[in-house]
């Protein structure tokens, strides 16, 4: 039962990632990132209850405050001048179809060639749950490579970081000091990025940087 609850919640996290990949409007993408972070915080709270771990509960609070709230706020500020703006490039839907293929292959390869060969065990649920953070990680990478806009690429990076938190929570909760520092680091990076978002929203080839 525990494993099924975890798998259900983790798969919802992936659904949010797919929504972000298939979405062209920035505001909706940013908001879905907040939903994704809240879902991860919920998983952390559930495991905190199951394992009687205060650290996991504190982590859940930190995720909600720093990621679901603060990062969303900064990203929204970055696009405040034109909240209706959407991805400039064509083919967002085609990329989404390509992403589903990439995602399926990467997940199968990862599970059968890597995860099943490592002697890993989890305290709650079963080993196959670990596929979700890895899939989310690849989904974040794909979002970065498939889009040209600053906002979409930041969201890809935040998705990667969410994947790491999910992996840590499911496999072995790492010390809170490290986890909190990671959350602050990501927040710092998003703040710096949102400054750049105001200056440059799309990324094309620049002749000066060739070679």
């Amino acid at each position: 039962m525990n494993g099924e609850i975890l798998a259900l919640m983790s798969s919802l996290v992936l659904v949010t990632a797919f929504y972000i990949q298939g979405q062209a409007y920035y505001r909706a993408m940013v908001d879905m990132q907040a939903v994704q972070s809240i879902l991860i915080a919920t998983i952390s709270s559930y495991l905190a209850y199951e394992l009687h771990s205060l650290d996991l509960l504190l982590l859940a609070f930190s995720i909600v405050i720093l990621r679901a709230f603060a990062i969303t706020l900064f990203l929204r500020r970055g696009i405040r001048r034109s909240p209706w703006i959407r991805e400039g490039q064509r083919g967002v839907t085609s990329m989404f179809a390509l992403d589903l293929t990439f995602f399926s292959i990467a997940t199968l390869v990862l599970y059968y060639l890597v995860l099943s060969r490592l002697n890993l065990s989890v305290e709650v649920g079963n080993l196959s749950t670990l596929i979700f953070p890895f899939a989310l990680f690849f989904q974040g990478l794909f979002l970065i490579t498939s889009r040209r806009s600053t906002v979409a690429q930041i969201l890809g990076y935040v998705e990667e970081e969410n994947a790491l938190i999910l992996l840590g929570v499911l496999l072995v909760p790492i010390p809170l000091l490290v986890e909190a520092s990671v959350l602050l680091d990501v927040l710092g990076l998003v703040v710096v990025s949102s400054i750049l978002t105001l200056q440059k929203q799309f990324h094309e080839r620049v002749e000066e940087l060739m070679g």
């Binding site: 490592l118 992996l167 790492i174 990671v182 710096v192 990324h203 940087l209």
Partner: protein, 438 residues
């Protein structure tokens, strides 16, 4: 003498207290560099590891960081003039420079893989805006590539941190080892790719030439001289957990070869030196993975000063000739004597010409490759060294000696002085090490 590493770490941060007054902030930044170098030089007894790890290895990296921080701060006094459109103000430039140094020091001094990761990621946050001193289309694009590529790569390194914690139940560097499982092996290899993004290993080095060429020269010097080695330091600490010499050496060899081949076709002098940094880091990685730690450290130390000298000389050229193109810089031997001397010396230093320190370091590494029967790796690295030497020195000598039209403006003397001094230090390191070997 015992010195608390926290003191070394806090010194550049404390300089930021003077941020409201630019003149005092500049002085305080330079003074904090001097204080840190003196503090590190005074250390004789290494403390037993606790929250910080100060052994010979981390001491050498910390000393390198403080020296280049000091010279870059002094050079900035003449180089940095922020007027008009810029994302950052001049006081903010020094504040970020100090924070950037503190984050690098934290990375090499802390005794915890998780916090090392945090420190390395913090170097990106503190240094990203330093690239935007001249806010242009290309600097903004280079800054963005730096942020997104490095961060996406380093994220992968955190998978390695999680796997290490799962295997050992701790992230303390000095408490790891003695466990040879597939999970630990995977952690070390994933860590190489993740932290390697910031070292500039193949194929994840694409951010590096952009960031190095678009950053202001004192920042390029810090990037190349000490930021890349800081990431290399973590990759080596990870390697010590469960050595994977085959993968590490081949990553080093392939990176050196690719970087040296790319150097041949460069048309901008700062990009040329950026590719040279990739080549030098890969050879240092190779040295560390074949157990030639002294050779690698000597190479890194000499490279830090040599490359700082090269980027400082490039800064003088950009400021006086207003160009970054190799073909537009001609005959500087007669027009800018001090700049051309330091440019020549530093390019010889970073390409491993005798008697510079890089030559001694590379010689020791190559000797180790032969002694370990790594003949194929030896041959490929030798070819890379020859190509890199020819490419850099061909371009530099054409800039220095070839006749041609060129207008130059005077640059502040402090810039030439710092540039010349660091090039001479690189030579001095070589002479001392040759003396010790003899």
């Amino acid at each position: 003498m015992n010195v608390n590493p926290l003191l070394i770490l806090l010194t550049p941060i404390l300089a930021n207290v003077f941020a409201p007054n630019l003149r005092v902030l500049k002085l305080a930044s330079a003074a904090s560099g001097v204080i840190d170098v003196v503090l590190l030089a005074l250390i004789h007894n290494m403390e037993s590891p606790g929250f910080f790890l100060l052994d010979r290895l981390s001491w050498t990296f910390a000393l390198m960081i403080c020296c280049i921080y000091l010279t870059s701060t002094l050079y900035s006094l003449g180089y940095i003039e922020i007027r008009g459109k810029s994302l950052i103000s001049e006081p903010l430039y020094y504040v970020l420079l100090n924070l950037f140094t503190a984050t690098m020091l934290f990375t090499v001094l802390v005794n915890n893989f998780g916090l090392m990761w945090v420190g390395l990621e913090a170097t990106t946050i503190s240094s990203a805006l330093l690239l935007t001193v001249e806010t242009t289309e290309s600097t903004l694009e280079a800054t963005w590539r730096y942020i997104i590529l490095v961060s996406a790569g380093i994220t992968l390194a955190f998978v390695s941190v999680i796997l290490l914690y799962y295997s050992f139940g701790t992230l303390t560097v000095t408490q790891m080892g003695g466990l040879e499982t597939e999970t630990v092996k995977l952690a070390v290899l994933v860590g190489l790719l993740g932290f390697g993004t910031k070292v500039g290993v193949f194929p994840v080095f694409t951010w590096l030439p952009d960031a190095h060429s678009e950053a202001p020269s004192p920042v390029s010097a810090m990037f190349s001289g000490v930021l890349l080695p800081s990431a290399l330091y973590i990759a080596y600490r990870l390697y010590e957990v469960l050595p994977q010499p085959l993968v590490y050496t081949w990553v080093g060899v392939i990176t050196a070869l690719v970087a040296s081949l790319l150097m041949v076709s460069q048309t901008k002098f700062k990009r040329l030196f950026a590719y040279s940094s990739i080549e030098n880091m890969s050879i240092a990685l190779l040295g560390l993975s074949v157990g030639q730690v002294n050779g690698a450290l000597l190479l890194l130390l000499s490279h830090a000063f040599g490359k700082a000298g090269a980027f400082y000389a490039c800064g003088e050229l950009i400021k006086s000739a207003k160009t970054r193109e190799i073909r537009e810089v001609r005959g500087i031997a007669w027009r800018m004597k001090a700049t051309s001397t330091s440019l020549l010396m530093s390019s010889l230093a970073v390409t491993g010409a005798p008697p510079f320190g890089a030559f001694v370091g590379e010689f020791l590494i190559m000797r180790s490759l032969i002694s370990k029967d790594m003949i194929l790796q030896f041959s490929l690295v030798l070819a890379s060294l020859v190509i890199a030497f020819a490419a850099v020195n061909y371009h530099v000598t054409s800039m220095v000696f070839q006749e041609g039209e060129m207008k130059v403006e005077r640059v502040p003397k402090v810039m030439s002085l710092v540039s010349m001094t660091v090039s001479l230090i690189s030579l001095l390191i070589g002479l001392i090490s040759l003396g010790v070997m003899a």
